[in-house]
Amino acid sequence: MKPPRFAYYDPDTVAEAVELKARFETDAVVLAGGQSLVPMLATRLAKPDALLDINRISSLQQLEVGPTHVEFGALVRQYQLETDPLVARNVPLLAAVTHYIGHVENRHRGTVGGSLAHADSAAELPTAAVTLDAEMVIEGPAGRRVEAARDFFAGWMTSTIAPDELLVAVRFPITPADAGWGFVEVARREGDFALAAAAAQLRLDEAGRVSEIAIGLASISDRPLRATEVEAQLLGQLPTADAVAVAARAIEEQVTASDDMHATHSYRRHLAATVTQRAVLEAVGRAQEGNRS
């Protein structure tokens, strides 16, 4: 478990990093927190010619709260999402899901951008990004572009980042004060990748009906998915326990993950509905509490 020989670069600026990416294209990999990449190097699943260590680029380490969004530089460490009160206050769901990423040691090294660019469908941050309609800020030789999270995840461990581009930041909308959120994950052990996880955020109108709802699922498909049918069934409805239970079943049709040693397909279908139901009820509970107070 020793990586093969590779060239090591540690650019100081985004421009340099982009230039290196343009030069090496698919023969280079970007090292951010290294929590997934380093094991891949050690097991020689990844054999890049060049390793681009972006940890020296200070502009990627900023967290900024704007009027409508919180922008996280790609190198912001996951533990900051988990522990910074600014995050908990402005995007509480994001702070909550981060706790489920690996173990605390992983979160101290692991970065926001690294997890998103790795695009693992079982991962928490991609799921949160899809659920909360985050925007990816991507820089390439032609400049910056912004892509919606829902379009960014393109398949199994695949994003729309071109070989000559670098993910530099992600913007999460600030959560409305009256929104309720919920997150439920089932993994075989604490810190393992989710067998299935659901993130939900919703608002209720004065009659207690669902006026806005977003539900994202991890680990049921080749990429994080929005539970569009479940959302559609609950929108405008009173979110009673029964209504939520019935609507949550609709997610089963979106489960395409096949059997693996930890979960069968049919188990995942049931689990997807279970975590969806529970996450939505948790969100409803918070929204109702918020509306009362």
Binding site: K2, P4, R44, V186, E190, G191, H262, L271
Partner: protein, 830 residues
């Protein structure tokens, strides 16, 4: 005696063993044995000075990496190393052809028709099998060399399912063996058929215990180094080396006095390094090929795929016969064990099962039919329990099923069947002997530590009021200790090497300043507490503070006879060895002091590191004064005594007897019998299949306790590993024989988050046959935990018909059962 098979030789053996272990004099109150003491090993481990195999610095050391087979079953067509050898820094490429040409097959306790070499010869038989070794200046370069190899295989049909392996048209793993049935034998003890005919109730079950393994932090590793006088020096973290060094020499075609094994502390074993001979054999062979020191330390991929430490993988058809009042009258076991591609330990893991075949229960009829099957998987090695824990699980599954059918509580049916304290020593069907026990005391203690009535009420309330499902499990299982080597060969009518020795040795030296050194002879530290045990026994015998005793380990050239740790034997055996050496040393000390002080020796005693006159402690000498005399003043010694203060002792197994020639009686081979009771309360979520712990009690009886905190550690760690085996860990192969558990991403070891907070209790029923009455307790909770988890899950989801038959029981299994039951309920309603 409760058995009808008494005979004079047998009774003589018992009497001799009991006499040998009888306390000498009135020394009953103990100062150190039984006291919780921090481990003397810990300071160096906690400060990163463990001195493990990968820490060894040897001038000119080179490094080997292994090309592992990517196919489950295939013929090696060609190996092209041209590109690998062209890499600067790559020194040599070694293949199975080199092994065949220059060495003998590795040591092997299985049939000789199933030979193996450290690198595959002609064929590969499992994914991960070592095929080629590349030696280079660094491990990085060696792995580059492995990447550059071009190895061509002709694939053969993979044999993965053990039942299909037995079919007539299955591909053969070992053509020379002629069958994939490596071994078959049936033992019938007592009147099994009659017992089942007479029975009021017969319960039966089809069970599968899946593969898991001990996963120490440190993998197995060795360094081979050509030394002086043609001696091959091997440094390795394998255990039991003084038992097998001559076998490694045989494999390497060297005289045994030309191989020396230098023991290196192991970063854990749990059985995985028990007689782990292939790695040191390979490192030694590679060193001989390049005439340079070569290190081969498995990385995690090597270790998971081909460290020969995968454990039991058994399929059972098992039956238990009872009378209507819940009395067990017989057991019938038909087991197919999926041993993998080779059989290095023979079927000793089933000898372990037979050592406690009836559990703690008093019945006389037992049938055991074993088929050991060869498949394209990594071969089995040792793991905590060595196969006895599997039998415990099977027996407890059957007892629970019987209890449910008879409407008896789990503790009631067990109590009814316990062997009673006055029935020891107790000979069980098969021939093994249980030395002592008080099983009701253990059960009572466990019940006193948990409020079962509360939990039974709570179970009902939570179900009715909160729609939550909790379950209670209770098991009472045996924990055999102190194996004798006969269990490895009594399976064969004409065994190749019917060994009956399994000793342990120790040397105690008091240096001229009166300081103590102890030399241990069969292992280095392997993660347990050998030094703490040795220090405590010396402290007990001489009254010195334990932390003043220095412990060292002999290399194989200096080692006295020893077997090494395994089968929970170390504490009992090394205590016997140290105490034997201590008695010799005490005699010499007293003789010197008596001569010096001119008092009769029988009037003197050793207390608090002094030798003094009984009743007049002011008349005496410090051990330092005696030591000075012993080393420097020969003219002051009693006439005929030689200088120095060092004694050694080899302690043989305290109680073992020969199997009968017809194997109707397997003899005594595992007599020092511990016992435990575990009770678990778990919540099971029927819609996710996830389990959580609500309460857990573990009470163990390991005889006289030496060190409560380290025994507690064994119980705790063993329970954690039992949780792994029961719920999480799985060395899985797919239908093509591809290995699915090659990293810790998929092989799930429980962490602190997944194991219960345990309440530990101890009962002490001394063994009549060991020094101080100690029994082994090293295998700890793993003997019981899989059974108690299975029972608790069944109990929680009984309304869905949950019945754990397959370990590990995964969340998907649980949910599948729940969904099927709901579907059925729906159909019944409609």
């Amino acid at each position: 005696m409760t058995s009808d098979t008494t005979n004079d030789a047998f009774n003589d053996a018992l009497a001799r063993a009991a006499e040998a272990a009888a306390p000498s004099g009135g020394q009953v109150k103990r100062k150190y044995i039984g006291r919780s003491m921090k481990r003397v090993e810990d300071p160096r481990l906690l400060t990163g000075r463990g001195g493990f195999i990968a820490d060894q610095k040897i001038a000119g050391l080179t490094h080997a990496a292994i090309f592992r087979s990517p196919v489950a079953h295939g013929r090696i067509v060609s190996i092209d190393a041209t590109a690998a050898l062209a890499i600067p820094g790559v020194i040599a490429v070694v293949t199975g052809e080199d092994c065949r040409a220059k060495m003998n097959p590795c040591m092997n306790f299985g049939p000789s028709t199933i030979p193996q070499y450290p690198l595959a010869v002609d064929k590969v038989r499992y994914v991960g099998e070592a095929v080629v070794a590349v030696i280079a200046d660094t491990r990085y370069l060696a792995e580059d060399g492995v990447d550059a190899l071009d190895v061509e295989f002709e694939e053969l049909p993979p044999v993965v399912n053990p039942f299909k392996a037995l079919e007539a048209d299955a591909a053969l793993l070992h053509e020379g063996h002629g069958s994939n049935l490596a071994y078959e034998r049936s033992f019938t003890f007592g009147e099994v058929d009659e017992a089942f005919e007479r029975a009021d109730l017969v319960v039966s079950d089809t069970l599968h215990w899946g593969r898991s393994a001990g996963m120490p932090l440190e993998t197995t590793g060795a360094i081979g180094k050509p030394g002086l006088n043609g001696v091959l020096e091997i440094y390795c973290n394998s255990m039991n080396f003084s038992y097998f060094v001559w076998l490694i020499a045989t494999a390497l075609k060297l005289p045994s006095n030309r191989v020396t094994i230098n023991p290196v502390p192991a970063g854990g074993s749990f059985g995985s390094k028990f007689t782990a001979h292939k790695v040191p054999t390979l490192a030694g062979f590679l060193a001989l090929q390049v005439n340079r020191p070569v290190s081969y330390v498995e990385d995690r991929l090597d270790h998971l795929m081909n460290s020969d430490h995968h454990a039991s993988d058994r399929y059972y058809e098992a039956k238990l016969a009872l009378t209507c009042d819940g009395t067990i009258v017989g057991m019938d076991v038909d087991v197919v064990d999926d041993y993998g591609a080779y059989l290095q330990f023979g079927v000793g893991t089933h000898g372990n099962a037979l050592s406690q075949g009836v559990g703690p229960y008093n019945f006389n009829n037992l049938r055991y039919h074993l088929r050991a099957v060869l498949t394209n998987k990594c071969q089995q090695g040792a793991y905590r329990g060595f196969g006895s824990e599997v039998h415990n699980w099977v027996l407890e599954r059957l007892v629970d099923q019987a209890a449910e059918k008879l409407g008896m509580a789990p503790e009631v049916i067990r109590r009814k069947n316990f062997i009673q304290p006055e029935q020891f020593p107790h000979k069980i069907p098969g021939g093994n002997l249980y030395d002592s026990g008080d099983y009701e005391a253990v059960l009572d203690k466990a019940l006193s530590m948990i409020d079962l009535e509360h939990w039974r009420k709570e179970k009902k309330r939570l179900r009715e009021e909160e729609n939550r499902y909790i379950g209670i499990g209770l098991v009472t299982t045996q924990e055999r200790s102190v194996f004798s080597s006969t269990e490895f060969w009594y399976w064969f009518d004409e065994p190749a090497f019917p060994i009956t020795s399994s000793p342990e040795s120790a040397t105690i030296t008091i240096d001229p300043s009166g300081e103590f050194q102890v030399l241990l002879h069969s292992q280095a530290m392997w993660g347990n507490s050998p030094e703490t045990v040795a220090a405590m026994v010396v402290a007990e015998e001489f009254g010195v503070e334990p932390d003043k005793v220095n412990i060292r380990y002999a290399d194989s050239a200096h080692a006295l006879p020893g077997t090494g740790p395994g089968g929970s034997r170390f504490t009992v055996m090394v205590t016997g060895a140290i105490r034997g050496a201590a008695k010799k040393l005490q005699k010499k000390i007293i003789e010197i002091a008596a001569h010096t002080l001119e008092v009769p020796p029988e009037d003197m005693e050793i207390t608090d590191a002094r030798v003094q006159v009984k009743g007049a402690p002011e008349v005496g000498l410090s051990l330092g004064e005696v030591a000075a005399t012993a080393y420097f003043f020969a003219l002051n010694l009693p006439p005929g005594m030689t200088s120095g203060l060092e004694e050694q002792h080899t302690y043989d197994h305290p109680l073992t007897t020969l199997p009968s020639p017809d194997r109707s009686d397997l003899g005594i081979f595992y007599p020092i019998m511990g016992h435990n009771c575990h009770i678990a309360v778990m919540e099971v979520d029927p819609d996710t299949g996830m389990t959580t712990w609500l309460d857990y009690v573990a009470v163990h009886d390991a005889g006289t306790i030496v060190n409560p905190i380290t025994l507690g550690g064994h119980v705790t760690g063993g329970t954690a590993q039992g949780v792994g085996t029961a719920l999480l860990e799985e060395l899985a192969y797919d239908e093509d024989g591809q290995f699915k558990s090659s990293t810790f991403l998929d092989y799930l070891i429980p962490t602190a988050n997944e194991i219960p907070a345990m309440k530990l209790g101890h009962v002490e029923t001394p063994s009549p046959y060991t020094e101080y009455g100690i029994k082994g307790g090293g295998e700890g909770g793993r003997m019981a935990t899989p059974g108690v988890i299975s029972a608790a899950i069944d109990d929680a989801l009984r309304e869905f018909g949950m019945h754990v038959q397959n370990l590990p029981v995964k969340p998907s299994d649980i949910v599948a059962t729940v969904l099927a039951a709901r579907e059925q309920q729906k159909e019944q309603r409609s």
